[in-house]
């Protein structure tokens, strides 16, 4: 597949090739992105939006070109793209600046999120409601299928709902959330829809116009881009109403002793010197995904995913966290090993070069709700570099690990 594009896949651990199954946490980066970062660091190394000299003009151009590239990528207008550090910062920006706008409407009194949300789409809302007495409501999913029942959606989203915020794909369950259904319901009661596309954007098209979401967020580092650059999309008319988040340099029109006027969007949300090399790397990651094409990515990943789930299901000591999804799985699979704590398993798997995530995946409320053993799981997630040989290595390592930790056969 595309393994050769990713230098990290050539690494070894105890002479075993690295088998990277943690793209849900952060993806590997292709050579093209690494080169773009280096090129930008050398040739466009100046403070953007400030200097008059050519180097600074080029830095500005690079940054604004990246904004255009990202806008096209998700079918947004250029000024609707705000660069942040990551999805978490994007969500915090929203949680601090959107509620003051929406809760001016005194009929609004609640925010709705699925119980499966990552802490970054959980804690900011919990913190907000704690300070003012509004209600944070949870959509609970079925524990076998991962689906949110229609009755749950009907019961929780009502005329008082100001915000419905949810991940397109859960980073633990690996199920697709019903984006259209939730969006329609939310809009029917006049609520704003926020999509956390962190887990899906590397795998599936995010078309903000087609989905009609009001805001959307994702991180560059989970889509083959660099660390430290993230995206916030918002409908222009909504962003115009939201006050700035951080203030300081670069985001102002004018400052006097007593008064500041802010730049128009997107600049009013981008305070301080911006991450030009990050934006350059992200733009290159977008081009990398576009060159492969989402159709080809889906075809290849789904084949590996299907093989992975089938092979996992064959292991008698493994239980999939969501045994019977009704919608196709996304590129994330959580599972448990009988009587073995996920941390112990991940430590031993690492000896075989196998990189999986273990624990509560920044979703403590979900793991508590699911009630799985140890309130933690193992998680394997895929990227465009994974192939069936990775799955074979994972399955082999899982068998050895189980044997080692339960001592039912010879230790490794």
């Amino acid at each position: 597949m595309n393994r050769q594009d990713f230098p990290t896949t050539a690494l070894t651990e105890n002479d075993y090739p690295i088998r990277y199954f943690d793209s849900g946490a952060t993806s590997l980066r292709p050579s093209a992105v690494l080169s773009a970062i280096e090129r930008s660091s050398i040739h466009n190394n100046a403070n953007p939006h400030r200097g008059i000299y050519t180097l600074s003009v080029r830095a500005t151009q690079e940054y604004e070109d990246a904004r255009r590239t990202v806008a096209e990528f998700i079918n947004a207008e250029t000024e609707e793209i705000i660069f942040t550090r990551n999805a978490t910062e994007s969500l915090n920006l929203i949680a601090f600046t959107l509620p003051p706008v929406l809760f001016q409407d005194k009929t609004k009194n609640n925010i709705v999120i699925p119980i499966s949300e990552h802490h970054s789409n959980f804690v900011p809302w919990q913190r907000f409601v704690k300070s003012n007495g509004y209600e944070l409501r949870f959509l609970y999913c079925d524990k076998q299928t991962g689906d949110i029942p229609d009755s749950e959606i009907e019961a929780k989203i009502d005329e008082g709902t100001a915000i419905v915020s949810f991940a397109t794909v859960s980073n633990v369950l690996g199920v697709h959330l019903p984006v259209e259904k939730l969006t329609q319901k939310a809009h029917s009661v006049g609520a704003v829809v926020i999509l956390d596309a962190a887990q899906s954007v590397a795998h599936e098209q995010l078309d903000v116009k087609a989905l009609d979401c009001d805001l959307a967020v994702f991180s560059g580092h989970k889509m083959y881009g660099p660390f430290g650059i993230g995206v916030l999309y918002g409908k222009k008319e909504l962003l115009d109403k939201m006050p700035p988040f951080l203030t300081g340099g670069d985001m102002i029109d004018d400052v006097t002793e007593t008064l500041t006027t802010y730049s128009p969007v997107p600049y009013k949300f981008e305070a301080g010197t911006q991450n030009v090399t990050g934006a350059a790397g992200l733009a290159e990651a977008v081009r990398y995904i576009k060159n492969l094409g989402y159709d080809a990515i889906a075809e290849e990943e789904n084949a590996v995913l299907q093989y992975l789930t089938e092979e996992l299901e064959k292991l008698p000591f493994v239980t999939l966290t969501i045994p019977s999804p009704t919608v196709p799985r996304a590129s994330v699979v959580s599972f448990s090993m009988d009587d073995v704590h996920p941390h112990d398993a991940a430590t031993v798997l690492s000896e075989y070069g196998v990189c999986v995530r273990a624990g509560k995946h920044c979703a403590h409320p979900l793991l508590d709700y699911l009630g799985v053993p140890f309130r933690a799981t193992l998680r394997a997630s895929l990227g465009v570099y994974n192939d069936t040989s990775d799955v074979d290595a994972l399955i082999h390592a899982l068998k050895e690990t189980y044997a080692f930790l339960t001592k039912t056969s010879k230790p490794v």
């Binding site: 941390h343 624990g359 140890f374 490794v412």
Partner: protein, 150 residues
């Protein structure tokens, strides 16, 4: 493989041995700790030979004897073994000795205590020394011991 030096028989046995994973009805102290990287929770219980009541373990004089020690909660083999070693070791010791053993144990995991005579006092808990070389698991090994500092 280095893994063999961590998941030794003594550690996996201790993790499975639930003798001291129990509730002490008359415990003066229940000290709990959470491992932020995995969310595992462990509580250490202490029964002390004293009629006084103290607001925190820090206020208990060094010469008070720990008459019983146990732990509660679920976790990985390393955190469970570590708690089991702690409970076994502290039963019958004074609070002052417990404080010293805690410092020695935490020093061993940090790599700052290597003196064999000091380490010998940790008895079976010495088996966790290998964790010093596994940064990702240090919090698991030290979880129970850190509760003594609360």
């Amino acid at each position: 493989m280095s893994i063999n030096s961590v998941y030794t028989q003594i550690i996996t046995d201790a993790a499975r041995d639930k003798t001291n994973r129990r509730e002490i009805p008359g415990a003066q102290f229940t000290l709990s700790g959470v491992n932020p990287s995995c969310g595992d929770e462990i509580a250490v219980q202490l029964e002390l030979d004293t009629q006084e009541s103290y607001a925190s373990l820090a206020e208990v004089p060094d010469d008070v004897v720990i008459t019983d020690c146990s732990y509660l909660g679920q976790g990985c083999a390393i955190s469970q073994a570590s708690a089991a070693f702690l409970a076994e070791l502290l039963t019958g010791k004074t609070v002052g000795q417990a404080r010293e053993l805690r410092d020695t144990f935490l020093g061993m995991i940090k790599g700052s205590v290597t003196d064999e005579e000091a380490l010998d006092k940790l008895e079976d808990a010495q088996a966790l020394a290998g964790v010093a070389k596994m940064p990702a698991r240090v919090k698991c090994a030290t979880l129970a011991w850190h509760t003594l500092s609360e």
